[in-house]
């Protein structure tokens, strides 16, 4: 309820957004009587950063190799044109 107050959205809509964040591992829900307090899941956010860093590194390595492949394709084409 408290989380919904600042937004012009219905409680079910807010709950749906919170569920998406929870499923993504970005927030954690606790049960406290009738309340369901949420907090940021530090581990989830760090995992996201780590995953993006890993993806970046893998792609950078791959595309640097692709640059070399493209250069050799171009050289082959030039050779073919000369013959």
């Amino acid at each position: 309820m408290e989380l919904a107050e600042p937004f012009e959205m219905t409680q079910p809509a807010i709950s749906q957004h919170l569920k998406v964040l929870e499923d993504a591992g970005l927030i954690v829900r606790r049960v406290d009587g009738t309340k369901r307090p949420r907090r940021l899941a530090k581990a989830g956010i760090e995992t996201m950063d780590q995953w993006l860093a890993m993806l970046r590194k893998a792609l950078e390595t791959n595309y640097d190799r692709l640059d070399a492949v493209l250069t050799s394709m171009e050289l082959k084409k030039q050779k073919g044109e000369k013959q």
Binding site: G25, T47, W51, M54, V69, T71
Partner: protein, 154 residues
């Protein structure tokens, strides 16, 4: 300076852009021709792709298998959805770690940019569980590569 830009789009997608010095036709071919893909889509140092199947037509199968020659191996399967020669590739892929990860929908665009190409790849952001599984595999792979480099220093 990195030539690659990577950003998240909402909670659901990652968009990667990269410029290449070659024209779109060459970059497009290098993404589909197995003998070319095997030269670059390898991840960390020390890994090779002994199996590369790309049946480049809508519904055609994709299968890539990687190995580090030291017992480390994993593979990816997928299907092509749409192919617009030299301009756009749409495909679905999943990694097998060995359990299959949820389908990753990927659209790759190649646009002429001067004498080169601007490539834009838009992919599904994996869920938390998949990210953790990929990280576990990736870290292992990354660390093996680091250890191999460390060993070569002695």
């Amino acid at each position: 300076m990195s030539k690659l830009a990577l950003k998240t789009e909402g909670d659901t997608h990652v968009v990667v852009t990269r410029r290449f010095a070659a024209p779109p036709e060459a970059v497009y071919r290098a993404h589909l021709d197995p003998s070319l893909v095997q030269k670059w889509m390898l991840g960390p140092e020390g890994w090779t792709m002994p199996v590369c199947i790309n049946d480049a037509r809508p519904g055609g199968k994709i299968r890539y298998e990687w190995t580090n020659g030291k017992g480390g191996a994993f593979y990816l399967t997928g299907e092509f959805v749409e192919l617009e020669p030299y301009h756009r590739i749409v495909h679905v892929e999943r990694m097998h770690l060995p359990d299959p990860t949820p389908d990753n929908h990927i659209e790759t665009r190649f646009e002429a940019d001067g004498t080169g190409t601007l490539m834009t790849m838009r992919m599904t952001l994996p869920d938390a569980e998949t990210r953790a599984a990929m990280l576990a595999t990736g870290m292992e792979r990354g660390m093996e590569a680091s250890y191999a480099r460390l060993e070569s220093m002695f």
